[in-house]
């Protein structure tokens, strides 16, 4: 009985953690030299449902995207947003 309850708790907890975790995606981008023009990157990402916040670092040439809990943003979604804003993706890294 005790084992059964523990198993149920474990299963519930893992399900919950899968649904609730948010991603932090770091995208290295080419061409980001103008803060006015790069505003388009922020606007393009924020139009997507699953995006919580976007930060642009012109020094490091990276865009950091935080997704909402449980939301998924694929690499192709990320690439599409960067290209729609007029820039090129160098690399994409993810932190759960």
């Amino acid at each position: 009985m005790k084992k059964g309850i523990m198993l149920a708790v474990f299963v519930f907890a893992s399900l919950f953690s899968q649904v609730a975790h948010a991603d932090e995606i770091t995208v290295a981008v080419k061409g980001m030299v103008c803060s006015f023009c790069a505003q388009g990157i922020k606007k393009t990402f924020l139009r997507k449902d699953g995006v919580e916040a976007v930060d642009v670092d012109l020094d490091k040439k990276v865009v950091t995207v935080k997704t909402k809990a449980g939301a998924a943003l694929s690499d192709s979604d990320v690439k599409e947003s960067i290209v729609d804003a007029g820039y090129e993706v160098v690399s994409i890294e993810r932190k759960a």
């Binding site: 061409g31 030299v33 103008c34 006015f36 388009g40 990157i41 729609d84 007029g86 820039y87």
Partner: protein
């Protein structure tokens, strides 16, 4: 001859990209007004993709003999963009068609053409552009522009970004046909403001841009 051909191409295609690229991001709206004592431009556009935008523009010009107003519907096209880690360069072109009212020659049909090339890093900025408005009865206005600028500091994404820019305008049909204008160019989030005055006449220049 080659030089003449190149100059003619630039002339034929020719710009009024005062403050910003005429194509922004997919789904973005742009507003670009520019004011001088004897000319005024305003363009509203919508970027259908990151490569082309459609828009409507109004141009006011005080020539030597008359005053003209143009209403133009136009397409702006990003011909080529070079995205590098520390720089970006662009070539844009615009074509438009519309109408004109001239204080002496009355109403007529008008066409608009422009080309623009720019290169910038976070500290350096340069731009060459040319534009022409042609209409019935040989009413036409052209403008050839060169710009160079430096940013005194590297601004972060959400900070006020300041540039010191020198602009040279050649406008053969205008009274004051060559103007050299030092100006300050400021970015803050999705807004640009430029303000200066020409060296010889002190003619004020104000331009802006916003993307939404």
């Amino acid at each position: 001859m080659k030089r003449l051909c190149f100059f003619s191409l630039v002339t034929l295609a020719t710009t009024h990209y005062a403050a910003a690229n005429p194509v922004s991001f997919k789904g973005g709206y742009g507003v670009m007004p520019a004011y001088n004592k004897d000319w005024f431009d305003v363009q509203l556009n919508y970027s259908v993709t990151n490569r082309y935008a459609v828009g409507a523009s109004s141009y006011y010009r005080e020539g030597r003999d008359s005053t003209s107003e143009f209403g133009i519907g136009q397409v702006n096209y990003l011909v080529k963009r070079w995205n590098e880690l520390d720089s970006q360069a662009n070539v844009n072109a615009s074509l438009g068609f519309g109408g004109r009212h001239d204080s002496v020659k009355g109403d007529g049909v008008a066409v608009y053409g422009a080309v623009e090339a720019d290169y910038e890093t976070r500290r350096l900025y340069s731009q060459l552009s040319a534009e022409t408005l042609h209409s019935d009865d040989n009413v036409q206005f052209s403008r050839y522009r060169a710009r160079g600028g430096i940013a005194p500091y590297k601004a972060m994404f959400d900070e006020l970004n300041a540039w010191l820019v020198m602009q040279v305008d050649i406008m053969p049909e205008m009274e004051d046909s060559v103007r050299v204008t030092p100006m300050v160019r400021l970015f803050y989030t999705n807004f640009v403001l430029e303000a200066g005055a020409s060296i010889d006449q002190g003619t004020p220049f104000v331009a802006g841009a916003a993307h939404f």
